[in-house]
């Protein structure tokens, strides 16, 4: 177990160090997510006022789009430098590599959320500070579910042809339950009369999905990544 965590931690460290040298993925993904929110604003704002109850949906859609971009870029970098193959050749547990990549992805997406959430609060008048902990819980649980599937599929797609288009094609249908629960829970917190029990139910369900997705991904990562 110590060995497992050590390998995962080393992978996280490696990813963060590579990222901190150029900030390529963080900066591009961040800018992309801001433009997505702005495009929604242009589509939905009428006479200077945003449409009602759209903030939660925009937040999660922007997150899904930027998450796909970040996943694609992160693994494209691994592919170009042939580092993923090197990682797989290392005498380390495959599931530990997966956990490391997943944790690195989570750090990245949480950074993006830290900018995205205030931006949505500002532009769409969403009460993001009303239930800060519930909102953070929903976002974190949703991000774990999304990245658990995303990391697995992005890693598998590294060797495939037309991987840029295949990643969203595979990822979006798979993460439908995460999106539905995330949007509904967040909307329950944002609406005029907040529905806390519903938000709590969504959070619990998201955690349940996370457990199943991560377990299944750990289980499939080994045979899928073996030639």
């Amino acid at each position: 177990m110590r060995q497992f965590l050590r390998v995962a931690w080393l992978v996280v460290q490696k990813d963060l160090r590579v990222e901190s040298r150029s900030f390529e993925v963080v900066s591009t993904t961040l800018f992309f997510s801001v433009t997505v929110v702005l495009i929604f604003a242009f589509g939905l704002v009428r006479e200077g006022r945003p449409a009602d109850d759209v903030a939660a949906a925009i937040l999660w859609i922007a997150l899904a789009f930027s998450g796909t971009l970040a996943l694609g870029r992160t693994f494209e970098r691994e592919r170009q430098a042939e580092t993923l193959r090197a990682l797989l050749m290392a005498p380390a547990d495959r599931p530990a590599l997966y956990v490391g990549k997943l944790a690195g992805m989570l750090v990245l997406l949480v950074l993006i959320e830290a900018v995205l959430v205030p931006l949505i609060g500002l532009l769409f008048q969403a009460p993001i500070l009303r239930y800060p902990w519930s909102l953070a819980g929903l976002l974190l649980a949703g991000t774990v579910g999304f990245s658990a599937v995303g990391t697995l599929f992005a890693a598998m797609l590294v060797r495939a042809r037309s991987r840029d288009v295949l990643l969203p094609i595979l990822l979006y249908p798979m993460t439908v339950p995460v999106m539905i629960m995330g949007v509904r829970g967040t909307a329950a917190l944002f609406q005029a009369t907040p529905d806390e029990p519903l938000a709590r139910f969504c959070l619990a369900f998201l955690v349940f999905i996370d457990v199943v997705f991560v377990t299944l991904a750990l289980w499939t990562f080994e045979p899928v990544m073996t030639d």
Binding site: M156, V176, R184, P223
Partner: protein
Amino acid sequence: MTRVQQLQLALAGAMLAVAPWIIDGAPYESTMGLVQKIFYFHMPSAWLFLIAALVAGVASARFLFGRAPSADYWAVAAAEMAVVFGIITLVTGPLWARKAWGLWWVWDARLTSSLILWLIFVAYLLLRRFGGPGSDKLGAGMALFGLVNVPFIFVSVNVWRTLHPQTSVVPTLPVEMGAPLWFCLTAFLLLFLALMSMRAGLARQRARIEALYLSEEEA
């Protein structure tokens, strides 16, 4: 084509040819009238859609964890069947719903989860077609995830009120309606079995040719 497949195809063709008369003989449902008769094609295809998805999921798991190459042939064949029977379900459903509920589509648990499951299998086929080398394992992982996903989608949408009739109506159907339903289900099942085994045979032959080419190149 084997003898069994020929027999299955011929039987399915004959049964589907007489099916309109049998469905015509069934009594009208009291509130929906004529449109309800689409049910005799809608439900068998929906069931086979789910069965195909299950077969694909189980075969993928066997391919991935049991390392049985032949399981992959069945997974591809079942995935194609899922897409075919899924599209029949998704076309006949809204046609019926337009008359029965006055809406083409509602976002109810059963409809949404069927749509997503269908999308997952379309994505699976796209992956198998355009993914290049290694897409067989990737696809297996995807089919497995897709299948596990279905209950989650179902629960997550189910909080909205549902309009779709429950499957529990099936055993309570009167004989005059039940008999045509089972007749159609048998016809669809025979068609499904014949097509799936033919498709799996095709996949097996492709793999064999591939292996022959490879051994020829090495020699």
